[in-house]
Amino acid sequence: MSDLSINFCGVKFRNPLVLASGILGVTASSLKNVIRNGAGGVTTKSIWLNPHKGHPNPTMFGTEHYFINAVGLPDAGIEKAIDEIKPLIESSEDPIIVSIAGGNKQDFVDIAEKIHVVNPQILELNISCPNVEDQFGRPFACVTVDAGELVKRVKEVSKNVPLVVKLSPNVNNIAEIALECEKQGADGINMGNTFGPGLVIDIDIRKPVLHNKVGGVSGPGLKPLYVKKVWDVYSAVKIPIIGTGGILTGEDAIEMMMAGASLVGVGTAVYYRDIDVFSKMVKEISDWCERSGVENLEEIVGAAH
């Protein structure tokens, strides 16, 4: 039996599969259920300091080739996180990554400061959501100096909690942005958020389908684009990477790891293969390791470089 465990920023994950933020992350019970279904760790839905309304429905739908969403980061704020996420973190044997969001830079600093009450093991800075641009402008993750400044300011208040910054694939200088985040103190990179935004029009109604009109695109068709982004980030930085985007199978996860990811974010795959996708993928990874004579999964990280 191969060892699938991964050490990420000093935190041990029993396998590399991490539930991506925004999927099945509304309640602590749901996150626990994902762990029961085989995930090595889970990421909460992005937590705001104050309650934040998302977009009306339709907020998401899927096709064979892609998935599109514009949920708009709804959250009930820090009080609910204290009620639900704090006890979850205290009772969970598996790591809970706490994602945080804000509208402006100060919001991020404020929530990063307050979120300590839930004792996060890893913080993830969601500065790359493409679905709130109407409200807050271009994501900070798309501008090198903004991303760097935010990491620096959050790092000042996030103390010893490892800080992962979730980046946007919608840039042509990802290496530069990742490097700047590393310079300013980021402990890890999540590469990354959804592509786009994209637009789907219903030709009978003659209107966009999503209520927000545009939405972030994910799904199996985009996997090569995400693998390339992870490849580029791995080439640029030394801090570990969570590779997220287009991963549906254990083989996909292994490919992502060979491009440079230590952990692999799984989100849209729940749509394609249901909630037990995690245990299915763990088995696929395990089988591949047996076949390939890999005893310790960590050895394949970046193996394709």
Binding site: I23, L24, G25, V26, T27, S29, S30, L31, K32, N33, V34, R36, K45, P51, H52, K53, G54, P56, N57, P58, T59, M60, F61, G62, T63, V71, P74, D75, A76, G77, K80, V200, D202, D204, I205, K207, V209, H211, T268, V270, Y271, D274, I275
Partner: protein, 273 residues
């Protein structure tokens, strides 16, 4: 059969006024939903909400809607020929076996998905006691259509006694369980009523399946908005029909639901109808 996950635009073929607050919308489309399953109905530029099908014969399906807020008001303004988007069918549906004696307990608009099970109940040679309840006689749903089925004992009750027996569906249920040997209870309606149905079913050691309603975004088990405590079961995918044994361990049942931001909203002291 695979569900439609990107809204499919359909024309409303017919609209029937069931009463002042309830309308049935008819669509000519082979949705092939099972009784108890639901669709996400999209009103462009407005919102998208889940509704159980109240009938589906493989050629046309119906949804029966109670006017409760802005969305349903807008839906009620639509005319025959207008277009809406449909995704689905989603969820698990009621499970029936042959030759069962069933008691269906429907409160208000909750009778809609129960009505949709009657065809299958008939095909499976089930005997049905149907408890149809509402606040007042005007709000009794599908009374005539239910009567038209053979092999059904219909028990009508209203809170105010304006038609049938004066009292609650749960009182009638208790009496039936005292008098008859029943294999399964199916129920849909206000959750406070269903909580009572659930308790009675345990008391009398009769199995039950209950249909839950929660705020939903995706409908296919990925967003997590409709998950239940402490199991994390998803109403849209693992439900909306749950066995009573499962609900025994659900903290939310009869207590609270969650809004679009995931915040708990406690059920008020809403009257059983």
């Amino acid at each position: 059969m695979k569900s439609i996950d990107k809204p499919k635009v359909l024309q409303i073929k017919d609209i029937r006024n069931e009463n002042e607050f309830i309308k049935t919308f008819v669509f000519e489309y082979p949705l092939n939903s099972k009784p108890g399953q639901f669709v996400m109905l999209w009103l462009p530029e407005m919102d998208e909400k889940p509704f159980s099908t109240s009938y589906d014969d493989g050629k046309e399906f119906w949804i029966t809607v109670f006017k409760v807020g802005k969305f349903t008001e807008k839906l009620f303004d639509l005319k025959v020929g207008d277009q809406v988007g449909i995704r689905g069918p989603y969820g698990n549906g009621f499970k029936l076996k042959v030759n069962q004696h069933l008691v269906m307990v429907g409160g208000g608009c909750g009778s809609a998905p129960l009505f949709s099970t009657l065809r299958e109940a008939k095909e499976k040679n089930c005997k049905v006691d149907f408890v149809l309840g509402a606040r007042t006689s005007d709000l009794l749903l599908f009374q005539k259509r239910i009567k038209d089925f053979d092999n059904i004992d219909l028990h009508v009750c209203t809170d105010d006694g304006s038609e049938g027996e004066k009292g609650f569906t749960t009182d009638v249920l208790k009496r039936i369980l005292d008098e008859k040997i029943v294999d399964m209870i199916l129920s849909c309606g206000p959750e406070v009523m269903m909580k009572k149905v659930s308790e009675i079913a345990f008391e009398k050691s009769v199995k039950a399946q209950l249909s839950l309603e929660r705020y939903m975004k995706c409908g296919f088990g990925i967003c997590g908005n409709c998950t239940l405590d402490p199991t994390g079961l998803r109403v849209c995918k693992d439900g909306p029909i749950f066995d009573n044994e499962i609900l025994k361990n659900v903290a939310d049942f009869g207590a609270y639901h969650r809004d679009s931001e995931g915040k708990k909203e406690w059920f008020g002291a809403c009257k059983v109808r």
